[in-house]
């Protein structure tokens, strides 16, 4: 028997380490196959699925795009995307409020990604937990619809800090709501000075081509 007593053990380890390891495995898989991946984050109903549909219509060769849908329950989004003739998988997270990288890694290993150049991952609608968990993506896109209010970057700073692109959606509704676009831009820039900000309306098409062109340019820079 050894001597008993109190001992302090230095750990110095991220609580998210196991998630970080799975994210690194996803990054390696994507890099090896030269697939450009976007992780789409927002509140429920901000337009993530609609943005995916717009991206699908921008891409002529549908074989080049794969989609992974994350929701607590149902296959509704996957069925909606499947109608576009692309490869899609649904992850139901049940009690978890975000897609876990280990789940995404398992799904990607089952998919045929031989022709894939662009991977779109729609996270669970939630501005809190998905922000904490990297999925090995090349870029993180946060969507904010004008009906949600312009204080969101102040209330949920982490998601705005960690996103590369901010897409302000439903701008056709601006005349009907109180939403200060400049306030959002200022707060988002303070959270992340290099964030790229787009204003779009899927209803009128305003701003959409600039966003889709930018995403296509980012994709082409990685996967050709």
């Amino acid at each position: 028997m050894g001597a008993s007593g109190n001992v302090r053990i230095d750990v110095g380890r991220s609580i998210l380490q196991s998630a970080d390891e799975a994210a690194a495995a996803i990054r390696a898989l994507l890099s090896e196959r030269r697939i450009y991946a976007l992780n789409l984050l927002s509140s429920p109903g901000s337009g993530k699925t609609t943005l995916i549909e717009a991206l699908l219509s921008r891409f002529d060769g549908k074989g080049g795009v794969a989609v992974v849908e994350g929701d607590i329950e149902t296959e509704i989004d996957a069925e909606r995307i499947r109608r576009h003739g692309v490869q899609v998988r649904q992850i139901n997270t049940r009690s978890t409020c975000h897609i876990q990288p280990s789940r995404l890694l398992a799904v990607l290993r089952e998919m045929d990604l031989s022709a894939t150049r662009l991977l779109l991952v729609e996270n669970v609608g939630n501005l809190v937990c998905p922000a904490e968990v990297p999925l090995g993506e090349d870029a993180r896109v946060v969507l904010l619809s004008v009906t949600e209010g312009d204080e969101k970057p102040l209330k949920y700073p982490l998601v705005f800090r960690t996103s590369d692109l901010l897409v302000i959606t439903k701008t056709d509704l601006l005349p009907h709501v109180t939403f200060d676009v400049d306030r959002v831009r200022r707060a988002a820039r303070a959270a992340n000075p290099s964030v790229e900000i787009f204003e779009v309306s899927a209803a009128t098409g305003d701003g959409m081509s600039a966003l889709l062109d930018r995403i296509e340019a980012l994709r082409a820079a990685k996967s050709g």
Binding site: G12, R13, S14, S18, L158, A190
Partner: protein, 113 residues
């Protein structure tokens, strides 16, 4: 309820470190938690206590060291803040850069050997 996943990760790390050091019991766990992480300490402790029942970490206390955000102003330099800030707390100028506040790590464990 996102503290549940965090509490589970803390418990996993604490139990594996305790086993590696052949410790009988974990008495406290020191954490660094960023103010931007949206972690409610009381909720985290409650959930951890629930998960740790029947393990060597049962009854362990969570000792949380807060990681503030750092607001960098061209004129005033770096200030710390307990929440996300859009302006320098000293000169009230905007156009600051805000970093830090996003730690989520286990610093150390106190155990009974």
């Amino acid at each position: 309820m996102h503290e549940l996943g965090v509490a589970g990760e803390i418990l996993d790390v604490a139990l594996s470190e305790a086993a590696r050091h052949a410790a009988k019991k974990v008495t406290s766990i020191r954490l660094r938690v960023g103010v931007l992480r949206g972690i409610e300490p009381e909720n985290l402790s409650f959930l951890f206590g629930h998960l740790a029942r029947g393990t060597p970490a049962e009854g362990a206390t969570l000792d949380i060291v807060e990681d503030p955000v750092r607001v960098e102003c061209e004129a005033c330099g770096v200030s710390e803040a307990a929440s996300f800030a859009l302006e320098c707390p000293r000169c009230k100028e905007s156009g600051v850069s805000v970093t830090g506040g996003d730690s989520l790590s286990i610093l150390s464990l106190d155990v009974e050997a």
